[in-house]
């Protein structure tokens, strides 16, 4: 398990890099599972770019677990470093099995399969589990 962050604020952090800089320092299809808990909303790159980059580094059959703040929660707007919020069906655009996924494929979205998409208890975030189609 690699615990990544922007800087080594605690001893368990054993990998440092700025996720705003693309590409991330992992090779194509080199990772089995990514946990991205309340991260993408802090980045300058768009969540779409972050999802595309996760897609690149995950191996076929790998998985991404992700959480982002919902657009209509107070809590999601209390953090001064949040740049992005997500709708309740926010992952649909990533999955070509959904209408949004089909309509907006021209964004250059890498294709995912949505395994889970639900509100985290408390209602401030959307959870997702996604598998890259590759």
């Amino acid at each position: 398990v690699v615990n990544h962050d922007l800087f080594a604020h605690s001893p368990e952090i054993n990998y440092l890099c700025d996720l705003n800089l693309l590409p991330w320092p992992w090779a194509d299809s080199s990772i089995d599972a990514i946990c991205s808990w309340s991260v993408f909303e802090h980045l300058k790159i768009t969540p779409l770019e972050a999802f595309n980059e996760c897609w690149r580094i995950l191996r076929p059959g790998g998985s991404l677990e992700v959480k982002m703040p919902l657009w209509d929660s107070d809590e999601g707007h209390n953090d001064l470093t949040h740049r992005w919020w997500i709708g309740h069906h926010g992952w649909n655009g990533l999955d070509p099995d959904t209408e949004r996924g089909r309509d907006y494929a021209f964004y250059g979205t890498k294709p995912w399969r949505i395994v889970g998409q639900n509100e985290v208890p408390g209602g401030s975030s959307l959870y997702g589990k996604l598998e890259p189609r590759k």
């Binding site: 768009t46 969540p47 999802f51 657009w71 709708g87 309740h88 926010g90 309509d103």
Partner: protein, 157 residues
């Protein structure tokens, strides 16, 4: 001949509004063959001459840009002819649908376009301060679609 430019066409192509008009479909890359002008709107200047465009369609496009709305509107003002119009759609801040797109960078309040019209209170207060070029609001509606603010503005030049 009058030029209509459809900025960030996506899959919503527009036809010339009448005889004597030419419609140009623009997007960031040529994701379909009808796209005629490819340009990243974050890069200024846009590839049209001062005062060369009669009408701009900017439906659901500026919220995807890195540059702020004011800069995009000022550039639209530059390329439009005097009294040329922009037909604008932006996602409203208080609609769930606005947040289903992971590339939306900002969201509009219902009166955000007032800033661009010096005859409104907000336009008077912030227009010069923010470096906004002047427009006349022809119409604004928050009910034009499930999640969007629509405005038609005329360049005052």
């Amino acid at each position: 001949v009058k030029l209509l430019v459809n900025l960030g066409a996506g899959n919503k192509l527009v036809q010339p509004p009448g005889p004597g008009w030419v419609a140009v479909q623009h997007d960031r890359f040529r994701h379909r063959p009808e796209i005629q002008v490819v340009h990243d709107l974050n890069v200024l200047p846009w590839p049209w001459q001062h005062g060369s465009v009669s009408s701009l369609i900017a439906h659901s496009v500026f919220e995807h840009l890195d540059i702020p709305l004011i800069q995009a509107m000022n550039e639209a003002w530059r390329v439009l002819k005097p009294s040329g119009r922009i037909d604008l759609k932006l996602p409203l801040w208080n609609r769930a649908r606005s947040y289903d797109d992971p590339t939306h960078r900002y969201f509009a309040g219902p009166h955000i376009l007032d800033n661009f019209d010096p005859t409104t209170e907000r336009g008077q207060a912030y227009g010069v301060l923010y470096g906004i070029l002047p427009w006349r609001i022809v119409e604004v509606s928050s009910e034009a679609g499930p999640a969007c603010l629509r405005g038609i503005l005329e360049a005052l030049k």
